[in-house]
């Protein structure tokens, strides 16, 4: 492309952008009042008191649950396609897609082995599924899948774990996973070892909820005001969605592997040290 042509293209692009911006601001009604205030929007994003979706007419649920179902559907569909069309054609020397699948499946092997060298098979499976769910679920927010709320308004579905119920489920499931594996491997000692960390499900749940909700809240905030609807969402989308997807998947899987390693660590019996009772005379002589 010649320099002249490049300049002409850049000028045309700038004119188009400027015209669009002028159009957007001119058509913006200054007297328009949002139906909901920013406070209400934020509060609803956290509590989901008003924005609910009907679950097949059985129950009104938070959008996060519907998002969770859709994410599961996407993941299972992907898995089925891979199972039918890709896995039977696996080769000894992997191709690109096979390499991606194998890397995804074996991604947590190293972490699982290093944190729990004595027992890690179930751990790496749990880490794979939980990590994938958090990662895909968080990225799902970027798709902006629309749903109709019970009030008849269209809403954009967020990450399943930005719903407090989803985050609680993940935290508690992880805790129960650790608890029962501790029980199976180290019997009562392992069970009580995990049980004493009773704050773990709360901290895990709230960490997930807080982290993923913050992304949703910032996105809501950015899209609420007309001025911030340009360029900023690109940065916000990356910072609060893609990075959160990676970070939260990493944090949860790391925590699971560390606690799992502790819960299933083989217990070594300590030799009892015989306490020699010293009589008063000996003690007094020593003191002297």
């Amino acid at each position: 492309m010649s320099k002249k042509r490049l300049i002409i293209s850049a000028v045309i692009f700038a004119i188009v952008i400027a015209a669009l911006l002028v159009g957007i601001f001119l058509t913006n009604d200054p007297n328009h009042v949002e139906e909901e205030t920013i406070q209400e929007v934020m509060k609803d994003a956290v509590l989901h008191e008003h924005v609910k979706i009907s679950l097949f007419g059985i129950k009104d649920v938070n959008p996060g649950l519907i998002a969770g179902f859709i994410v599961t559907g996407i993941m299972l569909t992907f898995a089925i396609i891979c199972r039918i069309f890709v896995i039977p054609r696996f080769k000894l020397i992997p191709g690109k897609f096979q390499l991606v699948l194998e890397t995804a499946v074996g991604l947590f092997d190293g972490t699982a082995k290093s944190n729990s060298p004595h027992k890690y098979r179930l751990l790496r499976l749990y880490m794979f599924v939980a990590g994938s769910y958090i990662f895909v679920g968080t990225l799902f927010e970027l798709l902006g899948v629309q749903a109709i709320s019970t009030t008849g308004k269209p809403i954009s579905l967020g990450a399943p774990l930005s719903d407090i119920n989803g985050a609680i489920m993940m935290g508690c499931t992880t805790y129960l996973f650790l608890l029962f594996n501790g029980l199976f491997v180290n019997k009562v000692r392992g069970f009580f070892g995990v049980l004493k960390d009773f704050s773990l499900p709360i901290s895990m749940s709230l960490r997930l909820f807080g982290a993923l909700l913050s992304g949703a809240l910032v996105t809501e905030l950015v899209y609420y005001y007309t001025m911030t609807r340009f360029i900023i969402p690109v940065l916000v989308g990356i910072a609060f969605t893609v990075l959160h997807a990676l970070i939260q998947a990493y944090v949860l899987t790391m925590l699971v592997s560390i606690f799992y390693g502790e819960a299933t660590e083989p217990h070594e019996k300590k030799e009892k040290v015989k306490k020699v009772k010293k009589n008063k005379k000996e003690l007094s002589s020593e003191v002297a």
């Binding site: 956290v46 509590l47 989901h48 008191e49 679950l55 129950k59 649920v61 938070n62 996060g64 649950l65 969770g68 179902f69 599961t72 993941m75 299972l76 898995a79 089925i80 891979c82 199972r83 896995i87 696996f90 000894l92 699948l101 194998e102 499946v105 074996g106 499976l125 749990y126 794979f128 599924v129 994938s132 769910y133 399943p160 719903d163 407090i164 119920n165 989803g166 609680i168 489920m169 993940m170 508690c172 499931t173």
Partner: protein, 164 residues
């Protein structure tokens, strides 16, 4: 249940759990297990290849050590064999010489004996003949006085030569 803070709904938590359980089972059976199975099989395959290669390398090492050992011993072995062969050759030579000497001695002895017997026979024959000639000559001298003794002898000798 409705009074829980942050609008927490246990029923929805359980629905999330149901969703996650389905996902867990589905991902395990549909994706994770087959991929892991393939990866393990491949790992096993390469492990087997590695073991085979290791075995072959070990075999090669053993053979190398063995051949080096053999090579080391080859000189001494060759010398020993040379010595042995020398000894055997010497012994054979001695045996052959001894046998030849014995044979030669036998032949010589036999020849000597034969020569001796021939000599004796010729001598006795000659003696006999001489005695006969002498007798004949004596007879002729005695009986035939006309003939000269010398001529008679010459005639007798001539006759003897013709006979031979």
């Amino acid at each position: 249940m409705g009074n829980l803070p942050l609008n927490i709904d246990i029923q929805q938590v359980l629905l999330h759990l149901l969703n996650f359980t389905i996902l867990f089972a589905g991902m395990y059976f549909i994706l994770y297990k087959p991929v892991r199975k393939f990866m393990d099989a491949r790992e096993e395959h390469f492990k087997q290849l590695e073991e085979e290669a290791k075995g072959k390398v070990e075999e090669g090492e053993k053979a190398k050590v063995e051949y080096e050992e053999r090579l080391k011993n080859a000189d001494s072995e060759i010398n020993a064999k040379k010595e042995q062969a020398g000894k055997e050759t010497f012994a054979e030579r001695e045996r052959i010489i001894t046998a030849a000497n014995e044979e030669a001695a036998k032949i010589v002895k036999k020849a000597k004996e034969k020569a001796q017997s021939e000599h004796d026979r010729i001598l006795s024959d000659a003696q006999k003949e001489i005695a006969e000639i002498v007798n004949e000559a004596t007879e002729k001298i005695v009986l035939d006085s006309k003939l000269d003794t010398y001529d008679q002898f010459l005639n007798a000798a001539k006759k003897e030569g013709n006979d031979e």
